[in-house]
Assembly symmetry: C2
Homo-oligomer: 353 residues x 2
């Protein structure tokens, strides 16, 4: 048994774990481990939004253009593709990319090819929306959790290896306890989401400024290799509660501190659905995410089912990654997206001067 917090990230605490040292989790779970040289990662969500099915070929072409740009120098180490319908019944394709080197990411983003495409006036005249939502948490600002130990998805894909059995799981509060920064920091928000450029109601280009400690969760399910029994378990027992909970957050998140919630389906470059899905939730704070997760009936049902089945899982892969990040390490930019897209919905629009 080892701590989810890697040895080189452990430090004297001013805040205690929720459970005593003698705590023993009821089943094994694992986290991704990285070399000590890893300092900060980048989690980038590049989106293409469209309103009508007829726009899908064009949107898929735009998605493929984004994916091609990943092959440029300093591009991401890993990416995957998703599709979802949002709160306004718009379709959204996303390329979700991960870097293990924020300097490389920065060079890539500022490269002529990438920057020129994003900045071009052509983006304003296409009938597609675009967004990029990017956070760059330092290693002490995120955690992972897997019920398996190989071929990690998401951020785990750029980290390297798996831990052994970790201690901090199986209780409410363990997510916080797995984040190294929790040893000394409550990770509280310091400000509000604010529109700092553009006007969401006018579409065109909008930039939203984030704030310290926005929490981002990616929580996923991969049933590609599952046999009939595990497919049934996922599709019949887990998915209905999951969809109900995720729809609830998508539509009612504002009062709970959930800025944005997208339950997405993995796709290939041609837009065909794969047997993978995940949720992407942006929260005003980690504790608001905790409160929802530990009290909402839909999530409690998912949790109970997970507890019941986890020890017997073979090919059904369940996991999550949760980060907080500094406001200065966040990018929330939108082009021609509807005004309830992503961080725009809850962002304060300053009175014009």
């Amino acid at each position: 048994m080892e701590s989810a917090i890697d040895t080189h990230l452990q430090c004297p605490r001013t805040l205690s774990r929720r459970v005593p040292d003698s705590y023993e989790p009821p089943f094994p779970m694992f986290v991704a481990r990285a070399d000590k040289s890893l300092q900060q990662v980048v989690m980038a969500y590049f989106g293409v939004q469209y309103a009508e099915d007829s726009q899908r070929p064009k949107a898929l072409a735009a998605l493929r253009h984004i994916v091609e740009s990943f092959d440029l120098s300093d591009g991401p180490l890993h990416h995957d593709l998703t599709d979802h319908i949002d709160n306004q019944n718009h379709h959204n394709l996303m390329a979700v990319a991960y870097w293990a080197d924020p300097a490389a990411y920065c060079r890539w983003l500022r490269s002529d090819e990438v920057n020129d495409w994003w900045s071009s006036d052509e983006r304003l005249t296409e009938d597609l929306g675009y967004f990029r939502e990017i956070v760059a948490p330092r290693v002490e600002q995120f955690e992972t959790l897997y019920a398996f130990t190989e071929e990690f998805p998401g951020i785990g894909s750029v980290m390297g290896t798996s831990s052994g059995d970790i201690s901090e799981h199986g209780y409410w509060g363990s997510m916080r306890d797995r984040i190294p920064l929790s040893q000394n920091d409550w990770m509280q928000p310091n400000d509000e989401l604010t529109v700092i450029s553009g006007d969401p109601s006018q579409r065109r280009r909008v930039i939203v400024r984030g704030h310290d400690n926005i929490a981002l969760i990616r929580s996923g399910q991969d049933w590609r290799a599952a046999g009939e029994a595990e497919r049934g378990l996922y599709l019949d027992e887990i998915l209905p509660s999951l969809e109900a909970g995720m729809d609830f957050l998508r539509d009612n998140g504002e009062t709970l501190g959930c800025y944005s919630n997208r339950f997405v389906r993995s796709i290939d470059l041609d837009g065909n659905e794969l047997d993978e899905s995940y949720n992407i939730g942006h929260w005003r704070s980690l504790d608001q995410l905790e409160r929802w997760a530990e009290s909402h009936p839909t999530h409690l049902r998912i949790f109970v089912t997970f507890f019941k089945v986890v020890a017997g899982l073979e090919k059904l892969r369940l996991y999550h990654e949760v980060s907080v990040s500094d406001g200065k390490d966040q990018v929330f930019e939108y082009i021609n997206c509807h005004p309830l897209t992503g961080m725009m919905r809850d962002a304060v629009v300053p009175a014009s001067v």
Copy 2:
């Protein structure tokens, strides 16, 4: 908003609360407040056990004898009466008594009238079982929680007044955070339950030695004054999950750290049922109680229902009290009870020398 931990019991922390200072609970709840002079309380469960319905009149007479003894000098300040059927289908009547002065309790217990009755050989020849399970937590070792502010049952009845809205509730871990000792102590068990006199399999007199930090929860429901809607809410929506959860703990507690679990119905001196019930659970440790409460489907269902209805409760009274206590402040004594009664079930019987 005030802390559940009374001002004179607050001290510099070595262990942090689970939630930041900015936490705001989703609905109001209250705790009992006592004068600063209160140092330690006594919670005493006096039981009469019988196997056959035909023994009930005799058992009720024994219960009345116990209640009469409460009128002796230094008797308890408050008591109530209960009935339940246990894990062996035996009936059990209990008088549950509270003192605010452990010295008075001690004088009462050692008084000739009380001591002679308990010690008499006549107790061995009646066909009734008797037990007394008593803990005396110091004020820093227990907490209370009420969805109402008047006429507190249980330990609250001897404390005095109600707090205003308290901060530490509505999240898993708040029970621990309400116990003043949690500021500096994990409240971990230091030993096992041990039979130190007698042999449970032989019945007769058995004494079980407890250990530090056995956790005792009394969790109650009072629908005496409830109107039709709230009676229905309790009887149809809460009770089925509650019974399922309590039966589960009664029958499966051993592997979970639940030494004993009794879901009891309040009665009057003649044994007539009142519209009140509560659960009495003894746990090896507070954290094992926490783990069960926050992960078992039956308790999560109760919790979800409670969250849904609590803001609208009028006459349905829901509450609990939770304590830990030092091994030296515990009494677990049995006369002619079946060997799975109370602490006997999980107590180690030392190899005879």
